[in-house]
Point group: C2
Chain length 413, copies 2
Amino acid sequence: MGIVVQKFGGTSVGSVERIQRVADTVAKTKASGHQVVVVVSAMGKSTDELVELAYQINDDPSPREMDMLLTTGEQVSIALLTMALNAKGLPARSMTGWQAGIRTNRIHGKAMVQYVDTKPIMQCLERGEIVVVAGFQGISPDGEITTLGRGGSDTSAVTLAAALQADYCEIYTDVTGVYTADPRVVPNAQKMDEISYEEMLELAHLGAGVLHPRSVESALLHQVQLVVRSSFVDEPGTWVKEADAMETALNVRGIAHDLNVARIKVLGLPNREDTLARLFGCLADAHINVDMIVQSEHDSKHVDVAFSVDEAEGKEAKKVLEEAKEELGYVKILSESGLAKVSAVGVGMMTRPGVAAKMFATLSEAGIRIKMVSTSEIKISCVVDRESALDAVRKLHTAFGLDVKELAEATHS
Amino acid sequence: MGIVVQKFGGTSVGSVERIQRVADTVAKTKASGHQVVVVVSAMGKSTDELVELAYQINDDPSPREMDMLLTTGEQVSIALLTMALNAKGLPARSMTGWQAGIRTNRIHGKAMVQYVDTKPIMQCLERGEIVVVAGFQGISPDGEITTLGRGGSDTSAVTLAAALQADYCEIYTDVTGVYTADPRVVPNAQKMDEISYEEMLELAHLGAGVLHPRSVESALLHQVQLVVRSSFVDEPGTWVKEADAMETALNVRGIAHDLNVARIKVLGLPNREDTLARLFGCLADAHINVDMIVQSEHDSKHVDVAFSVDEAEGKEAKKVLEEAKEELGYVKILSESGLAKVSAVGVGMMTRPGVAAKMFATLSEAGIRIKMVSTSEIKISCVVDRESALDAVRKLHTAFGLDVKELAEATHS
């Protein structure tokens, strides 16, 4: 048997008792004959507490010093988990990002992993030790401590799994797997046994919140099999893997939603080939991430462009475009917040006729107005009013046949 | 003007406000034209909290993992202080022990500094930056994070001052300097303007608690001038330097005390040349630090040996010797706890006749029984009952003319 990478998030190591439960899980995997590399995040809310301290001292702390500060959180976790493993008589060794050979570029606060020097970890594994690595961190070519950004421990785990050619990478979290919709919204949402990277990627981006999108991209790129499972309940999770290897239903697999959406319409832009480039260039320069984009031709001289952004960036996006009004030459800007995005996701669904039609009909029957539509190979997203969004999720979940019927009946009989 | 090293302990960086006050102090030194290297400890009680967490998880945590855990405390402090300096518009850069080139041996938990690669710090200083270094930590030849043991931040500061050929090293603490006796015990104790390394060393070992003995030894070895001063009150502190450079009064300079002393008497040991070596060899093997030793010849065949140890080690010391009874061949062991040690310290005082006589007479007049005596070139120590100890300190302070007379009068007039 080969190497398994197991990643435990902040909630999973949030207390002494939970750290001991993580040690039990790791011990079981080790006892099954695997070589185990564990990646952990900072305990519970400790990162948030450090961030708060920093902002009390400096309202614009340098990213380098933030990395210096925040990486201590994971360092505490690795030491404590290693002590817990040692207390069970298991040889184990903690490693910071730099000790584990995780080399990144120089961008503090959101560094990219450039390569992993696997020698230090491999030496420990060969000695029979469990290796406990601090997630979320690495070292730059100048010997500076860097972080991979929020949610970066998932990326650390996947990157290590790829570099170590692990059999698979388990992501332990506070949910039991990936669901066909958010179970808090759709009570009879089903846990999926498996899902393709591409579907997971859409769900991750759409705010399913189980896996960090970067980690899924990295898993796809390096073909690392992921398992999302619970650190509190011992049941099989959801495997994330190549679509070819799956029995794909070629249908809608899940309904995702994002409740924080703002829309901005730019009316009366000059109808020129560089219009879009200049418009979105402005936004990119201001580091604003644009999500959906819709362009409509007004007449031969003018076009209108609408796009959605994260609600937190709506005001800034509007301000940036207002400052560039002269340069962009538009007539008017309208912005609207309080919106949401609801998406149906499934590999191959776009090749099945009628999926989009069924989505629009379902929302229409529920009296929900669609404000924007965007489609890709594996998803259809609709922007709707925030108040209607959760109703839309439930209606679509039922319409696409995702509700757990047998299980619900079994439970009631 | 050259380099100044400033060390701030845990109390001095115990809160956001205190960190900002430290930044003010550092800024002032920088503004005076010095190049500044700051060494900081972990915030307030954060190290104790981490230790407690560790022992909840493992009652015998490995020293390597303890070092991994505890070094995070100083890493938090350096990041926050650097942010505070940046907030004042000062260029500054934090460095962990390994980034600052502090190379130690491999002994986790109490590593010794072997050398300092000063290049990283010097490069920053030359760019005009303030360098903020994590105290108490270094890196072993294997790339392992090590700690210098409790109180080790003082040692970090002195070692850096020596390696960087600093003009002097300021130790900021919660007292305003070194006093002729503990001001809580002797209200009219005086702050000394200067004190020799040797005197400070005796005072440090005797529990004056202001400076870690190792840091004083290191300062003496490398001839680093130290200043002990307050991080809360802006007044000149006490300089610790070469006795030759001082106007030495050749008299008693201070009265120190240690309230946690146990005495063990070993009676009827064989009078042989290897008796002491074997007796104290046993204790050394058990890592028990012996302080004062008195040997008395009983008759030609037997000797009695009495020694003092820290009260916390009294029981263990007795147990070790009882287990070695057969090997050592003594008749009987007696142990007594609840004792204290009172010492008069001063360079050259032993060359002045009558110092010891005055000490014994003062204690005798106060009705205090002396249980053990030990002398060195620069101190006389007496073991007495704990209840009498503070009275003894006050009486000796007065007898050796150390009370602040003029100041007391000035205050009352």
